[in-house]
Each structure stands twice: as structure tokens, then as C-alpha cells.
Amino acid sequence: MIRRPVDTGDPDRLYTVTGGRSRADDAFDLVTLVVSECEPTAGMQSEHTRILDLCRHPTAVVEIAAELKLPITVVRILLGDLLAMGNITARHPRAARSIASLPDSALLQEVLHGLRHL
């Protein structure tokens, strides 16, 4: 297996993309589904434009990161911007963030049902 390294560019690029910020919005889980609420506008940061294009249909944070070839943290920062501007909505996973909140049997039954019908 040949693993092509993810092109994160040089650190300067990441610094520019996030405007120097390194703290991400923890509200975004890897599998939070993001949906655009508006069209990209002229003059928008190119990464924001790409995210709005991608998320015309619900798209998980991790898929956005893979498509943009950017680390998860950077994508979380960009999503935080878009959320603050009201440009996206986020559908967060039910069981996320808390170790104690284990999934209930009804949810798991739905998962089982889906897997059996693959």
C-alpha cells in the first residue's frame, strides 16, 4: 500500500487559511453533517467558497477535510466561521462528546437493520 501524504502545504499556508488561529471549534464532530444555507459570494475566502459548494448536500466534517486536503482542526476553524456568519447549519451526532452517553438499543437496532440490508 502506498500512502500518499495529505498535502497540507507548508505551515505558512495553514496559518494564512485560518488567519493565524489554532484553536478549533470543538462543537464539530468528525461526523457532524454540514449543510450550506447560502451560495458563496464574491470576495469570500476560497476555502469558505469550497465548503459552501461541497455542502449543498449534507457532508460530514471528515469528508470536507479530505476534499479540501486540510487537517481536521483547520476545517473545524473554517466551519466555525461559516456557522457564526449563518452560512451553514450543522447536524450533530446524537451520542457525541460524552463518554457516558452510550447509544441506546433502539439506535443500534436501526444500525443493525441497515447493515443487514447492505
Binding site: M1, R3, R4, P5, V6, T8, S22, D29, L30, V31, T32, L33, D53, L54, R56, H57, P58, T59, A60, V62, E63, A65, A66, E67, P71, I72, T73, R91, P93, R94, A95, A96, R97, S98, I99, S101, L102, P103, D104, S105, L108, Q109, E110, V111, L112, H113, G114, L115, R116, L118
Partner: protein, 205 residues
């Protein structure tokens, strides 16, 4: 749906517009054990690769050196996905079992349904560490032995259970990560196990 209009440069298959719940299952195992193969065999998309970079201020990162106060940890991982129905989508993550990966566990995989430890019988040591870490993170898991070759010195599941000191209640199964139905069985075994645990929890007030 199904129209071939290319509104995006890459060949992405979008999720259903009603998709609202993302779920995670993590497949952990040593290098070359077949994690990506397993993800690929069951995924509806070609596995994608991404990475996370974290700069941490020396929180027990490396006990062997007092050198760096700040360490950058980079972990790359593959993932695929399965649309379970219009509303639910399951993401499968193939994650390397090495040490630096576990520092990112909470950040990446909190809220994960459960994990599959993929075992290569020729390199069982890799699995020890993964099992230990999953127990530490209280993540429920099953163990799947990838029989991708006709290993003549084939160990029985009982022998493997002993070698891994695996408790009776942890499911242990054979699989062939290349085969879709086999990969599917591994996932069903895990979710069945989670379901039984959830049922038991719900019965005890």
C-alpha cells in the same frame, strides 16, 4: 438523484438530503493488517484519506525526553462510509494503532459506537496495545482475525483468545477483509455485541 451533472470536480457521491445522524466505528490494527482493505470492501465510496495535526504543550507526550515543550502530532487515517438509511450514515475509520494515535483518540473518536481490532496472527503484539487502549477508553470492541492467506500454521480462535488474554465476553471472529460479505459480518458482530450490552444496561434500573 442519479443525474450525471458534474457540479463538482471530483466524483463525489453526496449523501441523501435527509441525512441527519452521523455514526462512527473505528477499525484499529497494526500496519498492513488490512484496515483499508476492510473499509474498502464495505464502503459505498472509495476510501478517503485525511489527517489531524495537533500541537500540544508537552502533556506526557514522550516520557523518554524532556526536550520539546511543544510537540506536533500528526495522524493520518482512512475512512469510508455506509448509508444505513436516508437519515443515518455510518463512517468507518481505519486507524493506526501506534502510540501517537491514542493521544488524539478523544479528539477524533469520542462518541464512537465501538471498535474492531483487526489482528494479523503473525504480528499479535500490535493487537495487545490496541486492546489495552480500548479498554482504557472504555470503548466496546470485537476482535477480527484477518485470514487473508492460507496460513499453514493457522492458529485456532481459542489459541488466539488465549494469546491475547481476551475475556470471554469479547467476541472473536475470523474474517477475510477483502470480501464484502465477510467485512459486513464483522460489523454486524460488533453492532450485535453493542446491542446486547445496551439491552443489558436498559434492563438494570
Amino acid at each position: 438523484m442519479g443525474s450525471a451533472i458534474s457540479e463538482l470536480p471530483s466524483q463525489r457521491t453526496p449523501l441523501a438530503d435527509a441525512a441527519e445522524t452521523g455514526l462512527k466505528i473505528v477499525i484499529v490494527g497494526g500496519f498492513g493488517v488490512g484496515k483499508t482493505t476492510l473499509v474498502r470492501s464495505v464502503s459505498e465510496i472509495r476510501p478517503l484519506n485525511t489527517e489531524e495535526v495537533m500541537t500540544q504543550a508537552g502533556v506526557g507526550v514522550d516520557e523518554t525526553s524532556g526536550v520539546a515543550a511543544k510537540t506536533t502530532t500528526t495522524v493520518a487515517f482512512d475512512f469510508g462510509r455506509i448509508s444505513l438509511n436516508d437519515r443515518m450514515v455510518l463512517y468507518l475509520f481505519g486507524a493506526p494503532g501506534q502510540k501517537r494515535f491514542w493521544f488524539l483518540w478523544d479528539r477524533l473518536f469520542s462518541g464512537t459506537l465501538g471498535a474492531v481490532v483487526l489482528v494479523d496472527t503473525r504480528r499479535m503484539d500490535d493487537s495487545w496495545y490496541a486492546i489495552d487502549r480500548l479498554e482504557h477508553h472504555k470503548t466496546p470492541f470485537v476482535v477480527a482475525v484477518n485470514r487473508f492467506d492460507n496460513d499453514p500454521s493457522r492458529h485456532s480462535l481459542d489459541e488466539i483468545r488465549q494469546a491475547l488474554a481476551l475475556p470471554e465476553h469479547v467476541p472473536l471472529i475470523d474474517c477475510d477483509a477483502r470480501v464484502r460479505s465477510s467485512g459486513k459480518d464483522v460489523l454486524i458482530t460488533l453492532v450485535n455485541h453493542l446491542y446486547e450490552q445496551a439491552k443489558a444496561r436498559e434492563m438494570t434500573p
